[in-house]
């Protein structure tokens, strides 16, 4: 007799789990004559976080009903976290709050009315054309997202630059990884990490700084944890952070420094490496030079040595405060330098800083000094927060100063190359970069931007000091289009809301942290009239061409005319981008066609210039001859590593002399606390998605302020008390969580909550890094005060008013 269907599903669950770790179970399901657990399975990528976990969606009767990880995927080996397990609840008709119809209002103080797509696209085209005619091309802007598919970012920026003749193309990756981009380019001459996740299984020392990997990248953390547990005595984990987090659990050494003193700590580690002769002399001789200042002046090793002399562990320990002792710094430096392979990992704690690029440089310095690069387990690896910040925005040309495939706007040759590849007249793309994110919303405030398109992101909540920028977005003379799947703090300020398809409801590519492009094809229908963005942009561009009587705008979308929007259209866009634009560039993706991507369980890591190379998975480690086809192609000598990155004409790695610099705003007598912000495991960014999954919302229904027990005692604050957090910019009132997380003198608030009283970006500061223009979300000054005892609180999400 066969099994019941329920038993069958339970066995499937057990067998799937067991297959991950190679455990044999005493039963199999092969003999069972049951209908399988789904009608069909569809490969794709998780919609949340930058890990890029691969999974298969089980569809039954047209509905998403089951999920399983893909064990052969080199990103996640099949594992998923709870967010990855539950996001199917937002798909198709599974969620009642999905946006399903275009909505419009002429004035922002009016209610929205449902309109047809024809009307909506006409309005969007007319308003953008009107702004261009009256105020010039730079009066319009696009603000996109590291969650948009690569095809979407690519076509948006093509129409903006080639069609509307403006470089006002930005996106939220400016808020999260611009400093990492700046760091990679200035240190290694090329953007994005050298190695891959495979180093998690090969590293002997992990240096985790400014990253709560356990909560922000749980599935990657699992790999680090496994490596540590399987090699308890030989693998060392150093965690450096002003806050103790779940990531610290596996650390052998926790370095808790005061916010903003990280540059001193990193320079002090370099001091120890130099003082104790732990550097790799051959590596330095063959591959590195030392540089300083704006002019990038080259200096010698002696000069560098005298520079780090100023950061003795004793002095740095005094600057860093917290639990830092000179001995801890020495220990960390020794483990770092002496291990067989050291892997550094960081995210926003390093990037979202006034000197984020410098902090990135100083981590890279340690790797260059010790030769901890390009060999197994050795890597300087920035983790990405969003699923397609790397693939779509960094590579696809989604920021104001970059064109597709790592080309700088300001380089005439590269700009003209793009114009030629697009078949549009030379000079069509302006030579000047557009507004970076903070400048863009400042321009909105000043009424310089008259029409803005915001796609798949919610700046009204995610910009630092957001009240200041919401004022501009509220202006009646600024026309705002928002494309999204749910109502957000930003749709509240829009004139036109266009409902879009979600992942698995459309087709396209995400490129995750490790240079890996992965395809997700459509598996279920989008709800109501929601449409894929690529269709929206194409149709809008055709109307714009008419309104402005400009055939070049039409030319930008001509290769895509007549294509069916669910698969053929994104495929044609991907083909143009990869075959034409990435050809010969360092992110050469010509081998990664849709057909190749479909064949692989995970995807392809660039460089992947040919199909043969792509079918092997692409390039695991860049710059190594024999492992990276471009290292062979560009080889200048017989050395095993070839640093051919486009930004360093000398083809060397650059060690930078960068001094300690504090944050833009330091605590003082009026605002005596540091305020830092971050995430919890259950939510993601502005919670417009995770907040709508009731399991995740119930687990974390509202934000709180974490206060160190010693500070709480001094101020008479008890768990659950309502506490006001006030800065020079704004105020929140949040329940207190008394917790040995933040160091003394620092409070921490997570930034997902949409309730006005608990939206922490009303309090944060909009100072930004002068190099990367990334804002300093991680540090500002605040004061805290108990305002009442515990109060009952309700979760809050923006709803669409009927």
């Amino acid at each position: 007799m066969g099994l019941s269907r329920r038993e069958f599903i339970k066995r499937t669950a057990a067998l799937t789990a067991a297959s991950y770790v190679g455990i044999d179970l005493p039963f199999s399901n092969e003999q069972e004559a049951h209908a399988s657990d789904a009608d069909s399975w569809h490969k794709g990528t998780c919609r949340l976080c930058g890990s890029g976990c691969r999974l298969e969606l089980g569809v039954k009767n047209g509905k998403a009903v089951a999920l399983r990880g893909i064990t052969k995927s080199r990103t996640n080996m099949g594992y998923l976290c709870m967010k990855g397990m539950l996001f199917y609840k937002l798909m198709g008709n599974n969620h009642p709050e999905r946006l399903k119809k275009p909505l419009y209002r002429a004035r922002k103080d009016q209610p929205f009315k449902e309109i047809s797509w024809d009307e909506a696209l006409d309005i969007a085209a007319k308003e953008f054309a009107k702004a261009v005619k009256q105020y010039g091309n730079d009066s319009v802007a696009y603000y996109g997202s590291g969650q948009a598919l690569t095809e979407e970012t690519y076509i948006f920026q093509k129409v903006m630059r080639g069609g509307l003749k403006t470089n006002n193309v930005e996106g939220n990756p400016r808020l999260c990884m611009a400093s990492a981009v700046g760091g990679y380019i200035t240190s290694f001459g090329a953007d994005e990490p050298i190695g891959s996740y495979t180093n998690f299984e090969r590293a002997s020392c992990f240096f985790i700084i400014g990253s709560n990997t356990a909560e922000a990248h749980p599935v990657l953390f699992r790999r680090i944890m496994r490596r540590k547990l399987d090699n308890k005595d030989t693998v060392k984990v150093i965690n450096a952070d002003p806050r103790v987090s779940p990531t610290s659990r596996i650390a052998d050494l926790h370095l808790q420094f005061n916010p903003g003193t990280d540059l001193a700590l990193l320079n002090a580690m370099a001091y120890v490496i130099v003082e104790e002769n732990l550097y790799d002399e051959d590596f330095l001789k063959n591959y590195a030079v030392f540089r300083m200042g704006k002019e990038k002046k080259q200096v010698d090793f002696a000069k560098y040595k005298s520079f780090v002399k100023d950061y003795s562990p004793e002095k740095a320990a005094r600057i860093c405060g917290g639990n830092i002792t000179p001995e801890k710094i020495r220990q960390a430096a020794r483990w770092f330098a002496k291990s067989e392979g050291t892997m550094s990992i960081w995210t926003m704690g390093i990037n979202q800083r006034k000197r984020g690029v410098w902090a990135n440089n100083l981590i890279h310095n340690l790797h260059i000094l010790t030769g901890q690069l390009c060999k197994p387990g050795a890597d300087s690896f920035s983790l990405t927060g969003q699923p397609n910040a790397c693939g779509g925005v960094r590579e696809g040309g989604g920021l104001c100063h970059i064109l597709p495939a790592h080309r700088l706007v300001k380089k005439d040759k590269l700009r003209h190359e793009v114009e030629r590849l697009w078949g549009i007249p030379e000079g069509r793309i302006p030579p000047k970069p557009g507004y970076h994110t903070v400048a863009m919303f400042e321009a909105v405030n000043q009424g310089k931007i008259k029409a803005i398109w915001i796609n798949c992101t919610s700046p009204a909540q995610s910009l630092p000091n957001c009240d200041k920028y919401r004022k501009g977005m509220r202006r009646e003379d600024v026309f705002m289009v928002v494309t999204d799947i749910f109502p957000t703090k930003t749709t509240e300020l829009a004139n036109l809301i266009l409902p879009t398809a979600f992942i698995f409801e459309k087709t396209g590519v995400y490129g995750c942290t490790e240079r890996r492009s992965q395809l997700t094809a459509k598996a279920v229908d989008a709800p109501g009239e929601a449409k894929p963005e690529v269709w929206i942009v194409r149709e809008w561009a055709l109307r714009l061409a008419k309104e402005l009587n400009d055939p070049v705008i039409k030319k930008c979308v001509e290769p895509f005319l007549g294509k069916e929007p669910d698969y053929e259209l994104p495929k044609a866009i991907w083909d143009e981008y990869t075959q034409k634009l990435t050809k010969g560039r360092d992110n050469d993706l010509r081998g990664a066609t849709y057909d190749v991507l479909k064949k692989l369980p995970d995807g392809v890591q660039w460089p992947a210039p040919t199909k043969e190379w792509a079918l092997k998975g692409g390039t695991d480690i860049k710059f190594v001859r024999g492992l990276d086809p471009l290292a062979d192609k560009h080889a200048k000598n017989d050395l095993p590593y070839q640093f051919y990155g486009p930004a360093h004409p000398d083809k060397k790695l650059w060690i930078w002399l960068r001094p300690q610099k504090g944050p833009a705003e330091m605590p003082d007598s009026e605002y005596p606390f540091y305020l830092s912000t971050g995430r919890v495991i259950d939510h993601w960014h502005t919670a417009s998605m995770t907040g709508r999954i009731k399991e995740l919302m119930r687990a974390n229904p509202y934000a709180y302020v974490e206060i160190n027990p010693k500070d709480a005692e001094k101020l008479g604050i008890k768990p659950g008390d309502m506490v006001e957090v006030v800065s020079r910019r704004g105020r929140n009132v949040l329940p207190a969580k008394i917790y040995v997380g933040p160091c003394e003198g620092m409070v921490f608030v997570y930034w997902h909550d949409q309730a006005e009283d608990r939206m922490i970006n009303r309090v944060t500061k909009d100072a930004f890094d002068p190099g990367s223009k990334e804002p300093e979300f991680k540090i500002c000054a605040c004061r805290i005060k108990k305002v009442s005892g515990p109060r009952p609180l309700k979760p809050f999400l923006v709803q669409m008013k009927a």
């Binding site: 057990a14 179970l25 009767n61 399983r68 009642p96 009731k694």
Partner: protein, 85 residues
């Protein structure tokens, strides 16, 4: 009634003790383990909220280091439209 397949990582020095604790949860079946501390578990709950709660509770066990989901089936929940926000 969702069903989830999990690999639970427990402290390799305290496997027996961890499995004992895990089996005391209602709706948790243990199907196997190895010397590295990988434990194969199937969770069954009346809805996916309860499943999330189970994961949270299990994470609280001192010897449990991580709970990794590998398979999830919620067909009757989706059919029954259990996703009201």
């Amino acid at each position: 009634m969702p069903v989830g397949g999990f690999v639970i990582n427990v402290d390799p020095d305290r496997i027996e003790e961890s499995i004992k604790k895990l089996t005391s949860f209602r709706g948790v079946e243990i199907h196997g383990s190895d010397e590295k501390g990988n434990v194969i578990a199937v969770f069954e709950s009346s809805n996916s909220h309860e499943m999330e709660e189970m994961v949270k509770e299990i994470m609280k066990i001192e010897t449990v280091l991580s709970v990794g989901l590998t398979y999830f089936n919620a067909e009757d929940e989706v059919e029954g439209n259990a996703n009201q926000g």
